[in-house]
Point group: C2
Chain length 299, copies 2
């Protein structure tokens, strides 16, 4: 079944101990779509500026990614982010953020996208996430991501979003910040009290936890010997997970768990190269190989 | 941790193809307590008449069952039920019901019972179940049973109860009647929409289903070669299940599933004899033997 993602398409400039790249095509919707489209047709909604040429769109070619919702803002400049990773590579140091077209981003879904049964709200202002919810009345399952910036500055708006989504995916630091709980289990359960029926708390190289009513499930990460660039790992994880759930067509704890395995596999490709390069090069067959390696690894 | 049950202590007269008994000590709280007390201390609240002599209370002796809440109504007569089982033994034909003390039953919990962390509301008028909820503000997990009579006659009151309990246990016919859904999976999910976070739907010899958010779990029944008398099987199931959960001290899907296994084991004893005779004779060791037999049987 089709899967809608509303997020960003961006220019990322990244420094890591392995090297650096400048103005690579990145963004939450980009990583998400590249991972998810191995499993399910993706409908992408994002906004770029006039500085985002046609050839840049080729990254989506030959995949089940419908970019009818990729809007070019007249006279606008594409969102730019630059960051640096050092040490344990778990946290990026942001060097520069230029919101540009994101400052006025107000998603208008193409008519054909409004009936998407599966929806992912990538990290965005709660106001933007609510606009997507308003335009997807027929959705069956929606998950949202967020970040500390919104937890700190738009807590009420974020809580409103949480009351309307079925699931949420966030990293451990965000979960702690949102709930005020430092213990992982308590933080996970506290998220559920805010509305979502499932919460996936990502712990990077330490895997992810799934929380739902009276249950939680711990999943290690697919082990990667050398991390080149962690940028986009979280969105790749979400893409693999939601892509699989949308493919399965029904939401169950079992499908979410299997989706999380495809999510960690997607993230494992992403971190092996700069930007989207390694994820974009992975085939569906590569996903299956690592999926089964992972199952052997955890059994 | 201690487990409170509010239900009935009754005189049951039963006919089955195996024979008949008259005015045996039965009732929902009796079966529940006998099963649950193998795992956790039980606090029993029920009401009997002056025709319930001291020697009848010996059924609770030597077990972890506190009967401080077993009230004798001055001038009252004990609740009486008589029924007959034929054919597939799955449904009792009620021959006679004399409510007696139940007509005015309004549970007043002993002070020491009000802090029980685990609570079971056996089948009763929704008004009575709400009175128990009002007196157990510190409860951690409460499950309720009901019956078709209340579904038909007190639907609004029952819905109010369902909004306040954590879990519900009911048989398949009741689940269908409550939700209007004939499909088991849809009925189970429709119960959750009424408020409970978990629903256990009992199917007698066909086992039980556990429903919670985005998950369900099917469990067969412990196979019994000869059913002598099914009376009390459902309450024994609930007692084994809640007793185990209270012993575990925390509510998780895993603990509920294990509790359901102890529940089906408790019910398997109950149906092997008339009234409470076989259940009362089973030791904790007997429970463990069947628990492990069951695990082998389903693996």
């Amino acid at each position: 079944m089709s899967l809608l993602v509303v997020g960003t398409v961006a220019y990322d400039s990244i420094e890591t101990p392995s090297g650096q790249v400048t103005e690579e095509t990145g963004g939450t919707a980009t990583y998400f779509s590249l991972a998810a489209s191995h499993f399910s047709p993706v409908q992408l909604v994002a906004s770029v500026g006039e500085d985002f040429p046609v050839e840049r769109r080729r990254i989506f070619d030959g995949r089940s990614i419908d970019i009818e919702g990729l809007e070019t803002v007249a006279g606008g400049r594409t969102f730019r982010w630059s960051g640096r990773y050092e040490g344990d590579m778990n946290v990026a140091e942001t060097l520069d953020t230029q919101l540009n077209v994101l400052e006025t981003f107000s998603p208008k879904l193409p008519t054909g996208f409004r009936s998407a049964p599966f929806v992912f709200l990538a990290n965005a202002a709660p106001r933007v996430q609510m606009q997507v919810l308003d335009q997807t009345p027929g959705r069956k399952f929606v998950m949202a991501d967020t970040m500390n910036f919104w937890i700190d500055s738009e807590r009420d708006g974020l809580r409103e979003v949480l009351r309307h989504v079925d699931g949420v995916v966030m990293n451990y630091a965000e979960a702690r910040s949102l709930t005020g709980e430092t213990n992982l289990i308590r933080a996970g359960n506290a998220i559920l009290e805010l509305g979502p029926k499932v919460a996936v708390v990502k712990k990077g190289e330490h895997g992810a936890f799934l929380f739902s009513t009276y249950m939680f499930h711990a999943m290690p990460a697919y082990p990667v010997p050398e991390v080149v660039d962690p940028t986009g790992a979280g969105d790749s994880f979400a893409g693999g997970m939601m892509g699989y759930i949308a493919r399965a067509g029904s939401v169950s704890i079992g499908n979410i768990k299997r989706g999380m395995v495809y999510g960690t596999v997607a993230a494992s490709f992403t971190v092996e190269g700069f930007g989207t390069s390694a994820l974009a090069a992975a085939t569906r067959g590569d996903f299956e190989v690592r999926f089964h390696e992972f199952l052997n690894f955890v059994q």
